[in-house]
Symmetry: C2
Subunit: 411 residues, 2 copies
């Protein structure tokens, strides 16, 4: 658990003018990490910190490897935050920065393993209802944090276009599947948790140690081919319906920056309480987060994107700490830079859904966009973007940057 | 497709005496790769080649990174095989070698992603029968090569002990799960395919290009906690029931060494034929492999291990080339060093099963061992080993070395 200190003080200002804009994602109180280089250069990517519309290069600080930074203990992470804060606060001497507009980004670290959880109960129920109208939520859902291993190699950074995948699709009335371009490309609105120090193989940790292993959050779009998924996923889970690409934002917002936006972790009346290994008084007091999440779409016919949905991480049924603790509970070794997706975080209302599958009732009810176009799933050329931010009276707004991707035609 | 040449000549002998022993896994015709160092040293691990009971160190050849070696095109791989053969054949000048008994091993390469397929149809049917007696094989099985993403971080090399995992288990008659040490630890008899050059994101390859991306095979034990698995695996597939550890042998037997043991790829009469993207005349002619597979067990009460089962890779329903081609068919990028498990390769007869789950009818019929002990699943201290080899009249036997692991008590 991170306690609040002067780095969370809303009155603190930066000598970087744009960081003091109330609308910026990156005020002095945020200080997210990224991997960047000068646009169009062939330099190696460097570790940087976002501040307003600029990037502070940490290579001069001896920080040249994000995974090594993630392996540091929480006390060291907090000391670094304080040093960054002091360097960029109003009154400190200006140092050289690179404008974000002159930078290109890559994945912020080496991602050893990527796991995707399923903590959005409203999503699980809505999707379950499409497949099993009488029994939408499986009996294990409220007891065990459901998750599965995802594909790490195809995690790409915001702005990378993705080619529409081909795959096996079996129409319900056909005798045999056909191999064709997917016609049901969807997004999934998620956050991704980057692992900090992690644990050795065979050595689980307790729920109250989980925060030590949580480095920070990124936006995550778990692109999905909804026509490939139902045919392939029994009995071993989603595979090629997901592995054609997963987009993350270039920025890692640290758990320290998000400390003001913690909430108590509660369960609805009558629901099972978490088993003891996933429960503690400290966890109950502060393990949830109030982070707004949004889906935006820009079709080729639009000048500006439109918002399709908004939700909030507080709707997650399992906390980030429970995801970490459960993942390591069998002795599985988590490593610095591992990525844990939350799963699609839909809100309780239909318009708060985190996927087109839900927003269009399984593709049966097209969305009508403000310019009159209609969409069920994504068409070639469509740009889908996720956004997230945390805000609260008395604190500066902390944002996550962009998580955008455009669909290219199938080969 | 690799054609046979003088490196497959059974009459060829090595100046390393043990390589000429007919029982060795590592004759001159094999030349498997490993990562090794002197036992007990703190040196970096180096790339080596097994020959008889010795290891040839390739660091003097400028080969210092296995993943870089795996990225080479097939023509370069074959040229290296010829050079190794010429260096170790009878008559060539002796060079310094390290006895395997004086070496320790690690994972032979960096494993970016680990995928586990399900190509053993007899296993799929036997396991399906335990869960769904009337409908053992799901309708997609004979059309789509089923696979799922596995956990790369917990892949360990032969000899690494594994701690019995704890996890959520729900007895059928209980209202709620309990968190406890697994009582049903099982093995799964598999081979693992290491990926060679691989493909860029969004760029699938054809079935006849698949061999170019197949570097070699290793033994793979997909340890499974059978009491954790049924409670957690719906709807997203196996997770913590598998991720506590996966053991591989230290050796990668190249596809070139296995070329004499290729077989035609055929489907039983009346079964669906593979869709065109998974089919070609070349594939049909030679995509299967005749590789014997064995499970061995040594309990703490035994002086020597006993064989529990034997099977053969020719029973796989999908070929290695189909695994590769299907995996990349949606544009997913495969990378040098990625590991693709075949899934449990059980034979058609009950005694040819590749897991204890099958050999004991779901834990209902214990095995009686030669010393009178009984086993359903593994007890603490049990050592489980996999072995594999290919043999054929007119060719030298090619073996895979050891894939052993011992179960430690739960924490």
């Amino acid at each position: 658990m991170t306690t609040l200190d002067h780095t969370h003080d809303a009155a603190a200002r930066s000598w970087v003018a744009a960081a003091n804009d109330p609308a910026t994602d990156f005020p002095l109180q945020n200080l997210p990490f990224c991997a960047f280089r000068s646009l169009g250069s062939l330099e190696p990517f460097r570790v940087g910190v976002g501040i307003g519309d600029q990037i502070l290069d940490l290579s001069g600080w001896g920080i040249t490897d994000m995974n090594a930074l993630m392996a540091r203990r929480g006390t060291e992470r907090r000391a670094l935050r304080h040093r960054l804060f002091d360097t960029l606060k109003e009154g400190a001497p200006a140092v050289a920065l690179l404008p974000q507009a002159h930078a290109e980004f890559t994945r912020p670290c080496r991602i050893g393993d990527y796991t995707d959880f399923y903590t959005g109960i409203h999503h699980a129920r809505a999707v379950g209802r499409l497949f099993r109208p009488d029994n939408p939520l499986l009996p294990n859902y409220q007891w065990v944090p459901i998750g599965y291993h995802g594909r790490a190699s195809s995690v790409v950074v915001s702005g990378t276009p993705l080619r529409r995948p081909r795959g096996q699709v079996k129409p319900p009335d056909a005798d045999a599947p056909v191999f064709k371009a997917s016609a049901r490309i969807d997004c999934e609105l998620e956050l991704g948790l980057f692992v900090g120090p992690g644990n050795a193989l065979g050595e689980p940790f307790g729920i109250d140690e989980a925060d030590e292993h949580a480095f920070g959050l990124t936006l995550l779009n778990d692109w999905s081919a909804r026509d490939i998924q139902p045919w392939e996923y029994q009995p071993l889970g989603p595979f090629l319906a997901k592995s054609f690409g997963t987009t993350i934002s270039p920025w890692i917002v640290t758990m320290e920056a998000l400390a003001p936006f913690r909430l108590p972790f509660t369960r609805p009346e009558g629901d099972p309480q978490p088993l003891p290994y996933l429960d503690s008084p400290t966890h109950r007091a502060q393990a949830a987060f109030d982070i707004e999440l949004e889906i935006w779409l820009r079709t080729p016919a639009m000048a500006a994107p439109v918002r399709l949905s908004r939700s909030n991480l507080r709707h997650a049924y399992w906390s980030l700490a429970q995801m970490l603790t459960h993942h390591a509970s069998n002795g599985c070794n988590l490593q610095p830079g591992d990525l844990l997706g939350t799963g699609t975080i839909s809100g309780p209302q239909p318009e708060e859904a985190g996927s087109l599958l839900e927003l269009t009732a399984g593709g049966k009810q097209p969305l009508t966009l403000p310019n009159g176009e209609q969409r069920t799933f994504l068409l070639d050329g469509d740009e889908l973007g996720l956004r997230a931010y945390a805000e609260k009276p008395g604190f500066r707004r902390v944002g996550f940057g962009a998580c955008d991707g455009r669909i290219l035609p199938a080969l």
